[in-house]
């Protein structure tokens, strides 16, 4: 463990400010709480929001798992895990079941989460209405008035143009029947896992300076229409490594002649399935 830093890197005043924001975020599910995001020793876009949230909730007894697109061994996941080993001395794991805090970039683990676990999402753009209305003053008013018409227009335009809702990731959902929120760029495949989830889910957007949350057992309903109900991605073939037909698969290009394979994006889940089969 590196000395000369406070426990979990951030100073205590910063943690207090983030902790207050986290409690308000939990009390108002889906509402984006502004917070004074700090510069972190990594560039914006590399999970500075998630890192600040994790640093503020981390205790010495925690076991941390970090995933990037479902994988434990990608650059972003490895460096964030190392960061907390060095600054907080916490134990780490690659196994979903053994982790007390899981920081994630763009995936929800396949294994069901428990009440004693916290999932921390790294969020690039927290505002679901941002690409439809660039002015913060306006989107804030729209959330205050629960005016989400333009989001339905956007989904309708998807249907008019493509015949179906073409939004495949960062799929907007309504939390606890009140706030429309952006579940971060997880594939829409993961949206149903957010609904009624046993674990607390925290979202941190560093560059955009917003924190929001979904408490355990909270209703998260993906937006849709009666005649175009929400549906998730399906694959025609099983995972090439573990044979799973129920997980989210990544397409891997094998050569320049069109050969490809589909494998689980959740590396821990895939490895365990293979071990079980062997």
């Amino acid at each position: 463990m590196t000395t000369g830093y406070n426990f979990a890197y951030l100073n205590e005043q910063t943690k207090r400010m983030i902790r207050r924001a986290l409690l308000k975020a939990v009390a108002i599910p889906g509402y984006q709480v502004p917070f004074a995001s700090r510069e972190m020793p990594m560039p914006y876009g590399w999970g500075t929001g998630g890192v600040q949230v994790t640093a503020s909730i981390l205790t010495p007894q925690d076991t941390l798992k970090v995933i990037d697109q479902g994988a434990d061994d990608t650059t972003n996941a490895v460096s964030i895990r190392k960061f907390f080993v060095r600054t907080a001395g916490v134990a780490t794991t690659e196994e979903t079941e053994k982790a007390s805090i899981i920081q994630t970039r763009h995936r929800v683990p396949e294994a069901a989460l428990r009440e004693d676990q916290i999932l921390v999402y790294q969020v690039p753009i927290p505002e679901p209405l941002r690409f439809l209305e660039p002015r913060e003053t306006e989107t804030r008013k729209m959330h205050a008035l629960e005016e989400y018409g333009i989001m339905h227009v956007k989904l309708y335009e998807d249907i008019a143009r493509h015949g179906h809702i073409a939004t495949a990731y960062a799929y907007p959902a309504k939390v606890n029947g009140r706030y429309v929120f952006d579940p971060s760029p997880i594939p829409k495949f993961d949206n149903p896992k957010l609904d009624d989830c046993a674990a607390l889910q925290l979202f941190g957007a560093g560059r955009e300076k917003r924190i929001y949350a979904v408490p355990p057992y909270t209703k998260v309903r993906s937006l849709d229409f009666e005649d175009h109900p929400f549906s998730v991605q399906k694959w025609e073939e099983p995972c090439a490594l573990c044979g799973s037909t129920t997980t989210y698969l990544d397409e891997i290009i094998l050569d320049d002649k069109g050969k490809r394979m589909f494998v689980c994006s959740d590396t821990d889940h895939c490895r365990k399935s293979q071990e079980k089969a062997a």
Binding site: F7, R19, K24, A27, I57, A213, T218
Partner: protein
């Protein structure tokens, strides 16, 4: 300054992190009573659990209001020294309001509810209760699988009527921590509260 100032967390960074996790769990699972036993003693009549909440959350950004029973010199000196928070006399201006069952209803009625665009700009009440027995309540809402039964000591009909109003204001409203000497629980504004015997 006649009395000696008591100390706060021995290892602030680690101990306040542990205290915060209890507070976060309490807020995420409304009505669950969780142990919070910090490693220091607070000046009476302030509980160590209440002090732990203040030392973990309060600083120069959060005006703090105390009811008359807690407005002891020793308590004020202690909170001022350890948190740096301004002691506020005006309830609507405070970020955190420390009260006891007798003053909780009035504090709840006057505390800030935030505004439609910033519902987070609202107050948090910390109510010192002797223990978690007494009023029996059934809770529903985010953080609760189906329903949860919660009991807490003598807050009275007016307080619970105001808590119901507080929930109706959602997403506006105040959030409440209950602090017994060694345990805490929370009721955020999102929780629907039904008193025993009510329809």
């Amino acid at each position: 300054m006649s009395t000696e100032l008591l100390s706060g967390f021995t290892d602030h960074a680690r101990s306040s992190a542990e205290a915060f996790r209890v507070m976060l769990d309490a807020m995420a699972q409304p009505g669950r009573i969780l142990p919070l036993t910090p490693d220091f003693a607070a000046p009476a009549p302030l509980f160590a659990s209440t002090a732990a909440i203040c030392l973990t959350l309060c600083d120069y950004d959060t005006p703090l209001w105390l009811d008359d029973s807690l407005r002891e010199t020793a308590v004020i000196d202690y909170l001022r020294f350890h948190t740096g928070a301004r002691i506020e006399n005006d309830r609507p201006q405070a970020s955190f309001l420390l009260c006891t069952p007798a003053t909780a209803a009035e504090a709840l009625a006057q505390a800030s509810i935030g505004n439609a665009e910033y519902p987070d700009a609202s107050a948090t009440l910390i109510i010192q209760v002797p223990d978690f027995s007494g009023d029996r309540l059934t809770l529903k809402g985010p953080g609760i699988k189906d329903e949860r039964v919660f009991t807490t000591a003598g807050l009275g009909a007016r307080f619970w009527a105001l808590m119901d109003e507080n929930h109706q204001l959602f997403p506006l409203g105040r959030d409440v921590y209950f602090a017994a000497p060694k345990e805490i629980a929370a009721l955020p504004r999102s929780t629907q509260i039904k008193r025993e015997g009510q329809a």
